[in-house]
């Protein structure tokens, strides 16, 4: 090629004979435009509830409250200490590779939930910015401000080759 322009494949490689025909009998392959980022992404799967009385508590007072009062046919459930159940530190994270039009490496802490931040003492955050946080004050959703201010949406236009 004489062109000095950078070029790269915008689709997988296919056998030409294997392409489907359009209404006019022409071979058709849909290729989408836009950026594609390969991200290594960590996502928090779960967390415990925020207790209505003690939203950010993770101190367990009666560690046997569930064991002592739980039962399938039990009427003793009212004796289970709710605040202790909601105080159990829970957190699972999964890391995987994803190809996306969003660059997940450009991610921000979310300060837009003012009352929540005042209560919990920290903004919504994410791994690895704030580590793996399973303590009581981190019982809140991750920040979903991905690629803030950098994301370019090119619409749904596609090219046909």
């Amino acid at each position: 090629m004489d062109s000095s322009e950078p070029f790269y494949a915008i689709s997988n490689r296919y056998n030409f004979d294997g392409l489907s025909n359009d209404a006019n009998g022409n071979k058709t392959l849909v290729c989408w435009r836009g950026d594609c980022y390969i991200n290594i992404f960590t996502y928090r799967l779960n967390r415990n509830f925020n207790d209505p009385s003690l939203p950010n508590n993770d101190q367990i007072i009666q560690s046997d409250t569930w064991k002592d009062h739980y039962g399938a046919d039990s009427t003793d459930w009212s004796n289970i200490s709710r605040s202790d159940i909601n105080a159990v530190q829970l957190g699972n994270w999964i890391t995987f590779k994803v190809k996306s039009s969003i660059n997940y490496a450009l991610r921000s802490q979310d300060h837009s939930y003012v009352s929540e931040e005042a209560l919990m003492g920290a903004p919504r955050s994410f791994y690895p910015r704030s580590g793996l946080m399973w303590r009581g004050e981190n019982k809140m959703p991750d920040s979903y401000l991905y690629n803030d201010a950098y994301r370019a949406n090119l619409g749904f236009k596609c090219y046909f080759a």
């Binding site: 779960n46 739980y70 289970i80 159940i85 909601n86 829970l90 190809k99």
Partner: protein, 92 residues
């Protein structure tokens, strides 16, 4: 949002988003939730597999799940999908 890529051997796959503000999402006979149990009631929970509490020893129920889960994609397919595979999702 539905993936109807005919080149897939798995046929039509239905995809829906399960977000924090939606209590439950159903696709055909499958139910997807973000919140297992309730904040205000300590005895409500779910099971990852089976309810072992119905066995002789109710304290064997070690597969209990409870709490809030982060948003995810609910995926339904009549055929089984390969795990740990890479899928392309196009929006019509």
């Amino acid at each position: 949002m539905t993936d109807t890529n005919n080149t897939s051997s798995n046929g039509t796959v239905i995809i829906n988003t399960v977000t924090e503000d939606v209590p439950i999402v159903a696709i055909k006979d499958k139910i997807f939730k973000l919140e297992i149990g309730k904040t205000e009631e300590s005895y409500r929970f779910g099971y990852a597999e089976i309810d072992k509490s119905t066995s002789d020893n109710p304290h064997e129920a070690n597969n209990i799940v409870r709490g809030k889960y982060s948003p995810y994609l609910a995926i339904y397919s009549d055929n089984s999908l390969d795990t740990s595979a890479l899928y392309n999702i196009y929006q019509d």
